[in-house]
């Protein structure tokens, strides 16, 4: 084959792909290491919605950030500059979101958050092209704080990893709990041994324990806590008791209360279809991360139905309308483009051989975020 025909073929191929994919979506998420179960659930939930929709002209590029901010930044640059994506999504961890989102939106790309939503991006750092479909970081912790107050706990020990979402977590808890604390500590992100922290809890004279430890961190802590002989009641956000954690922890988590904006038993049509569809396709129960992925994809698809992604004003308005069937039932965006939604309290139960959660009450109705007034949009 001569050089000329080769070039012509390449040009044709480029044209062909160019014509096929009108909208490109880049998903940066954690698919390896201790946080992999979160990213995999986000991806699977997202892809389920895309497959159910089945439209042409949509290309999803998925890449693994390994929970490393530098890797995430590198992937984002590649997606923006060489893949020329229109929309970015998928980041699990707030420190990665802080490294990627501001620069992506500054380069004129939409970012739809499937999970991480740090305070900085909900308040002063809000941006017209940034939407959080999941929550604002503080929300689920606020629910746990409200629960602690309503239960009459007067001296909880609170703990979270030392990264943006960890700070948001403890701030959120304190905002709605409002009382005295027995202790407040930040652990390392990715820490696996909590013997030292458990000893501090034992010595602190606390009457309850609130902790935010997603993924493998939660598994380690709960197993060690159960074995330590400290039997104070524990509570936390849903992240500390997600589907993957519960299966690895077993009986130790039964009966624990946690704050969540989603649960598999939420009674609405979209949720029933989502839970059934997810189980059928992946042969496991979805977690809340999968629910956020699914909602994000459906929100994006609903906006693509009414607006062209290249017309940023129109597409932004279409997203803000939130005209899709959320698995969370009630769902709308506040002015800082973070959700207004109900936050529930769930309890860990056992269904047959499977550990899961069930809703036992509503902690906060129509919760927006604490930082909405700081956002000047």
């Amino acid at each position: 084959m001569s050089m000329k025909t080769l070039l012509a073929a390449a040009a044709l191929a480029a044209l062909a792909t160019g014509a096929q994919a009108q909208v490109k979506v880049g998903m940066i998420t954690t698919l390896s290491g201790g946080g992999a179960s979160l990213g995999i659930d986000i991806r699977d939930g997202f892809m389920l919605a895309i497959e159910e929709d089945g439209r042409d002209g949509l290309e999803i590029i998925v890449a693994d950030d390994q929970r490393k901010p530098d890797v995430a930044v590198q992937i984002a640059d590649e997606m923006i500059q060489s893949d020329k994506v229109d929309i970015l999504t998928g980041i699990v961890w707030s420190n990665l979101a802080m490294a990627v989102v501001p620069s992506a939106t500054a380069q004129g790309k939409f970012y739809l958050s499937t999970n991480a939503a740090p305070a900085q991006l909900a308040g002063k750092g809000c941006h017209p092209l940034y939407f959080s479909v999941s929550y604002q970081n503080d929300n689920l912790h606020e629910a746990a704080g409200a629960y602690a107050k309503s239960e009459g706990y007067s001296n909880p020990f609170i703990m979270a990893p030392n990264y943006p979402a960890g700070h948001d977590s403890l701030n959120g808890f304190k905002r709605f709990y409002e009382g005295e604390l027995a202790g407040e500590i930040y652990t390392e992100l990715g820490q696996t041994d909590y013997a030292a922290e458990i000893a501090q809890i034992r010595a602190s004279g606390a009457d309850s324990v609130f902790f935010f430890l997603p993924g493998g961190m939660g598994i380690s802590f709960l197993k060690q806590y159960a074995d330590s002989g400290v039997d104070l009641p524990v509570m936390g956000p849903a992240f500390s008791f997600d589907q993957a954690i519960l299966q690895a922890v077993g009986d130790a988590a039964l009966g624990v209360k946690n704050g969540s904006n989603w649960s598999k038993d939420l009674d609405n049509e979209a949720n029933a279809a989502f839970v059934a569809g997810f189980q059928e396709k992946y042969d496991r129960l979805p977690s809340l991360y999968a629910a956020y992925g699914y909602d994000t994809a459906n929100l994006m698809l609903s906006a693509l139905d009414t607006a062209d992604v290249t017309d940023q004003e129109a597409f932004r308005a279409a997203l803000a309308a939130a005209d899709f069937d959320s698995v969370r039932g009630k769902f709308s965006f506040d002015t800082n483009q973070h959700p207004i939604q109900d936050i529930f309290i769930r309890e860990v139960i056992k269904e047959g051989d499977i550990y899961t959660n069930m809703i036992v009450g509503t902690a906060i109705e129509d919760r927006s975020s604490a930082y909405v007034d700081e956002c000047s949009m």
């Binding site: 390896s32 201790g34 992999a36 030292a196 197993k223 002989g229």
Partner: protein, 306 residues
């Protein structure tokens, strides 16, 4: 801060150190005897944990799971030595690092392919679970106590092996002069495979023991590997005694630093800032310790003087 809390934290540091020792002992032997930097040592730790979780799931026996972990990791180690490592002894360290880094990726993806990305369930057996009350009223998990005892037993066993047996003599001789012991008729390649399998088996055992209180997941070995390298640098490369003392030092520094540094900062800063900066400094503590030891003794505490 009560004495009970301090005593409990010292036990925690000791337990952490003893588990680090199991990792570092293999690493330091392999480095000392064969002159090989084995980054894939953390993968063998993971192999042990997964083998234990799989066997415990199938049979329900924790002891069988430990045996399986030891065997699977030793077997994987021997296989890796025969297939890959053997070709690297005469290469420089950069080639070794590259090849063993590739092994990490292969092990991680292979494990993911076999077991999936979700953490596995491996629990403490009923007869080791729950706390016991120690003299002085300290409540401490029985399992962690068992880890300390087991780790110290392994240390004694290793010391006997190295100092009192024929194989031990060969290992020590191999450390000093590999050409000479080959000339004396010792099958050096068999010895290398054995040492590698021994180191791998210890890493696998550590993975299984720690997996029962943490989570068994892909990539669990790498953070421990970094600490194990710190341990052997502090202890002196090739020295089992150095590995034990280095491991306990690192374990105690890490655990006690995490408790006392935030308390220290609370003396002159508000609690929130103190906690944040204190924990930041605590995570640096072991590296500061390593730097200090290296300034004082450039070859580590028990390293060969050159």
């Amino acid at each position: 801060m009560s004495p009970i809390l301090i005593a409990e934290q010292v036990l925690n540091g000791l337990q952490f150190g003893v588990m680090l020792f199991l990792m570092a002992a293999g690493l330091t032997l392999i480095f000392g005897v064969m002159g090989l930097i084995n980054l894939a040592h953390g993968s063998l730790y993971m192999v042990g944990a997964f083998a234990a979780a799989a066997v415990a799931g199938a049979t329900g026996s924790f002891l069988l799971a430990l045996v399986a972990a030891l065997a699977a990791a030793a077997l994987a180690g021997a296989l890796v030595e025969l297939v890959v490592i053997r070709r690297l002894y005469n290469r420089d360290h950069l080639d070794q690092v590259l090849a063993t880094f590739a092994l990490i990726l292969i092990f991680s993806e292979g494990t993911r392919w076999l077991f999936g990305s979700f953490p596995l369930y491996l629990d403490i057996p009923a007869w080791l679970s729950g706390p016991v009350t120690l003299p002085g009223g300290i409540q401490y998990p029985l399992y962690r106590l068992a880890l300390i005892v087991l780790g110290l037993l392994v240390a004694v066993g290793l010391w006997l092996l190295i100092s009192r047996t024929r194989i031990g003599i060969q290992i020590r001789a191999g450390e000093n002069d590999r050409e000479m012991i080959a000339a004396l008729g010792v099958d050096i390649s068999k010895l290398y495979t054995l040492v590698f399998a021994l180191g791998a088996g210890l890493a696998g055992l550590a993975g299984a023991l720690v997996g029962a209180i943490q989570s068994v997941q892909v990539g669990m070995g790498e953070p421990v590997l970094i600490l194990a390298f710190v341990v052997i640098v502090i202890g002196g490369i090739g020295s089992i005694k150095g590995a034990l003392i280095g491991a306990v030092l690192v374990g105690l520094t890490d655990t006690l630093g995490g408790i006392f540094l935030p308390e220290l900062f609370k003396l002159f800063a508000d609690p929130a800032t103190a906690t944040a900066t204190g924990s930041a400094f605590a995570s640096m503590a072991i590296y500061i310790l390593m730097a200090a030891v290296l300034v004082w003794r450039p070859t580590g505490l028990f390293g060969a003087r050159t």
